[in-house]
Amino acid sequence: RIVTDPSTVITVDTRNSTWHDFTRFLDAGMGSQVRGMSELKQYFQRFGYLPIPETNFTDTFDDQLESAVTMYQTKLGLPVTGKLDSDTISTIMSPRCGVSDTNHTLKTTKH
């Protein structure tokens, strides 16, 4: 039996402070309203799935969000359901690269 070395006690919380509570949107569908869904919309905006100019996102699962979810699933090789299923939520919550998936915002020219 392997005895755990006390110096290896795990102390770091693996949840990201921004995305860890996105599980609450699991199975949310068109028309549903979940408090904080605007943060999910900000996530999709951040990675290129919602247009940049929008700033006042609502907490409603609307057409625009459904379109973003579908596009995200397509881009990330997930089953395309247009819904916030467990595969999709789990992928959204995974740590990732900060480069946008669609707009490729980090593309400045050399100074």
Binding site: T8, D13, T14, T18, W19, T74, V99, L106
Partner: protein, 192 residues
């Protein structure tokens, strides 16, 4: 594979030579520089094996083509980091050369030495970001290095066919590279 808008690449006479350097004031103190250098050397080598591009480490950070640093939060490029996990790193498309890693992460070289559940493999992220520096954007192929997400305590450093085809379309093939070796490697890992 996909590219950045306009399909930018390092537009230099072939064979392309690029220098990289570490920001003297923006490093992490729990990984020593010799280990750090070895990790990045291996990461750059993987790409150099498949394309006619050579990478050299330079001591002169400010004149290097690729400038690597670890930063926290808002670090002045309009893309602030967000603390533990979430966004791990980002890099700019050619020919910008900025390559930033989130200093808030628990970066690991050997998971046997780092027990944190939030540990992130430095070599995997370095290899991914070098893909961006060379001009690749994100892919939808989950097994590929250029897939955008990486779970903690996961190592993904071997280039897959998707990565290789993408970068070779930008720079051509390294004359010493054989696709058969990659296919053999992928088959053995799939069967394993």
């Amino acid at each position: 594979f996909t590219y950045f808008n306009g399909k930018p690449r390092w537009n230099r006479p072939s064979p392309v030579t690029l220098t990289y350097a570490f920001s003297p004031g923006n490093l992490i103190d729990y990984i020593n520089m010799s280990e750090m250098r070895a990790v990045f050397k291996r990461s750059f080598s993987r790409w150099a094996l498949v394309i006619p591009v050579t990478f050299y480490e330079s001591e002169d950070y400010y004149s290097a083509d690729i400038r690597i640093g670890f930063y926290r939060g808002d670090h002045g490029d309009g893309e602030p980091f967000d603390g533990v996990l979430g966004v791990l790193a980002h890099a700019f498309s050619p020919e910008n050369g900025r390559f930033h890693l989130d200093a808030a992460e628990t970066w690991a070289i050997d998971f046997n030495q780092v027990k944190s559940k939030a540990a992130v493999d430095l070599e995997s992220v370095a290899t991914h970001e070098i893909g961006h520096v060379l001009g690749l954007a994100h892919t939808s192929v989950k097994e590929a290095v250029m897939y955008p997400s990486l779970s903690p305590r996961t190592k993904k450093v071997d280039l897959k066919i998707d990565d290789v085809e993408g970068v070779q379309a930008l720079y051509g093939s390294n004359p010493n590279f054989k696709f058969s070796s990659l296919l053999e490697s992928e088959n053995s890992s799939n069967n394993g």
